[in-house]
């Protein structure tokens, strides 16, 4: 690398790493915040799911049919079934949370009304009323169990009830289900994190230097403009990558809490070394192209505020591109897709996360992004040479 480019990179890094506040907000805070927020969300969700487990709930059943009694008796041990009439006062007490119970009211002579009847006479079928308060987790669970049990009871056949232990009907493996989920979510998340890193520093790096008048001091040195452009883009990419890595670590650490993996759930996050290498390469290429694009916009902007305004619509486009994998089935087989900047990175990530990695698209993505970066360096050099862009107020 040319020595002046390296001098610019060192200066940008010195500026970044020397500013503890900037370092904290750009590299440490994103990962830390993601970890804290996702962990708290995960803990909250888990606690909502498990809240009320083991709590004893009373179920009052009015007009218990003879055919149903054994089924109710075989339900959860934390359920106390009492045969007792359900009154309007009881229902009012449920609403006021003065009664922790589920109230089931069968019509009189339920068995005679139901047995031998066909479902086509639905309007003539008897109705079972189940009263509960859904803000009580334990009561909600009992309601779900009873309504499912009654639903199955009404049918003349069952669907997909395992006949032997371990019998599977969905032939997708846990790994492929997990891969499908990750391939739809993670590409967008990663692109957003990388873009946030670029956004945090690129506007102030060039538009800020214009605003503060420090760019002119650089422009009167004998350094070539393309050395300055390359130095800016490479240093911004490096810093944005650090910010992206921080966010990635935050997600990686909080993900098990978020989705209950630390409770023993296997979400199929199993990837090979090749997958990780491809991911790293495509992240590098993507961050380079992002830094290039934002640097160009930043150079065109009059000041940092203007740069922020110019970059925002661009960020929305990247976000939209990140959403596309959710509406498609795996990565595209069309190589031309991998020539589209930003979207090519998302496509390769989709392929990696859905265990469909092929190296040709990775190479096409890397090569095209390097070419686009070269074009951006050329364009940025021209902007640095343009007195209208550099010095207009």
């Amino acid at each position: 690398m040319k020595s002046n480019t390296w001098t610019i990179i060192k200066k940008e890094f010195a500026r970044f790493f020397g500013d503890r506040q900037l370092l904290f907000t750009t590299v440490i805070m994103p990962g830390l915040l993601i970890y804290i927020i996702y962990s708290l969300m995960g803990t909250g969700i888990q606690s909502m799911i498990t809240k009320g487990a083991g709590e004893v709930v009373t179920m009052r059943v009015e007009n218990m049919p003879e055919s149903m009694a054994p089924l109710f008796g075989a339900m959860d041990s934390s359920l106390v079934v009492v045969q007792q009439p359900v009154t309007e006062a009881d229902i009012a007490m449920l609403e006021d949370k003065e009664l922790n119970a589920v109230l089931v009211r069968f019509p009189e002579g339920f068995d005679e009304l139901v047995i031998g009847k066909c479902e086509v006479e639905r309007e003539a079928l008897p109705n079972v009323e189940i009263y509960y308060n859904s803000t009580n987790n334990a009561a909600s669970r009992v309601y779900m169990a009873v309504s499912t049990m009654l639903g199955n009871y009404g049918r003349t056949f069952t669907v997909n009830v395992p006949q032997v232990e371990g019998q599977r009907f969905d032939q997708a493996t846990d790994d492929s289900i997990g891969a499908m989920i990750w391939s739809k979510i993670l590409p967008m998340l990663i692109m957003m994190m990388l873009f946030s890193g670029v956004m945090a520093i690129a506007p102030s790096s060039i538009a800020g230097e214009k605003e503060r008048g420090t760019i002119a001091t650089l422009l009167v040195t004998p350094m070539k403009r393309n050395e300055l452009a390359l130095g800016k883009i490479v240093s911004l990419s490096g810093i944005a990558l650090l910010s992206g890595i921080s966010s990635f670590i935050g997600i990686a650490l909080s993900l098990p809490k978020m989705v209950g993996m630390d409770e023993g759930v296997d979400l199929g996050f199993h990837y090979t070394t090749s997958d990780y290498v491809a991911l790293l390469l495509v992240i590098l290429a993507s961050v380079l192209i992002m830094a290039s694009a934002v640097s160009l916009l930043s150079a065109l902007a009059k000041d940092v505020k203007n740069a922020g305004t110019m970059v925002t619509p661009f960020m929305l486009v990247v976000m939209l591109a990140g959403l596309l994998p959710m509406f498609q089935d795996g990565a595209s087989a069309n190589l031309a897709v991998y020539l589209i900047p930003f979207y090519n990175g998302i496509e390769v990530m989709t392929a990696v996360f859905s265990h469909e990695l092929e190296w040709t698209p990775v190479v096409v993505t890397m090569a095209s992004d390097v070419v686009y970066t070269g074009i951006a360096v050329w364009a940025l050099t021209r902007l640095f040479n343009s007195e209208k862009v550099m010095f207009s107020k």
């Binding site: 020595s3 002046n4 200066k11 503060r212 002119a216 001091t217 009167v220 040195t221 004998p222 007195e387």
Partner: protein
Amino acid sequence: MEEILKVEGLSKTFTLSRKQQKIERTTAKRKVAVDNLTFSAARGEIFGLLGPNGAGKTTTLRMLSTLIKPDSGDAVLDGCSVVRQPEEVRGKIGFLTSELKLEDFFTPNYLFDFFSQLHGVDPNTTAARKERMFKRFGIDKFAEVKVANLSTGMKQKLSLVISLVHDPEVIIFDEPTNGLDVLTARTVTDYLQELRGEGKTIILSTHIFSLVERLCDRVGIIIDGRLVACGALSEICNGLTIEDRFFELYKEVKGGEE
């Protein structure tokens, strides 16, 4: 004396935005900032460009420092053309103007090393030059203080020092004492004379008559982008003071208009 700078037919026209048209109180869409400027400067002299605000002094100096390109004409500086060899020219000049700022975040020590590297000065020379210049301007005590925390005068002195990290042959100063307190202004003007003594050429712009009288060997008077007089002070003043001569020329050009 050896000619180190030769300016020939240098011209620059700017397109005015609506905002600029309002400020300039004109409906014209273009403004001729510098019109066919021709002059030269010899090695070891201080050449002053004297003129009122908006006369085209700063534009001329910015073209000489290659920050902006002339529409026509050229200037050859120590054998290098500002149009065809801008990078070589930038290596030969030290340029200082109030619009060039230093990053607040860094220390004088860091900035001196950084700009020395960009100018390709070797580390040993950098260290020796830094020690000498920091001492000369009293920056040595603040070498590790961030620019943001320096006084205005100290920042100006640091800007001057930074513009000279590579020991250039030609030094271009736009209004060198503007905004400086009297002590700092004196330090700067004394140093300019010192540099002349070392054989350096200094091109400066100013609207301060006393500065021209005290410092300049030769002067060019620029009004409305045109050079209306150029030569040694004694040649262009005809026994008048530079101030009286300037207003005489100003009236001739403007026809009595203010």
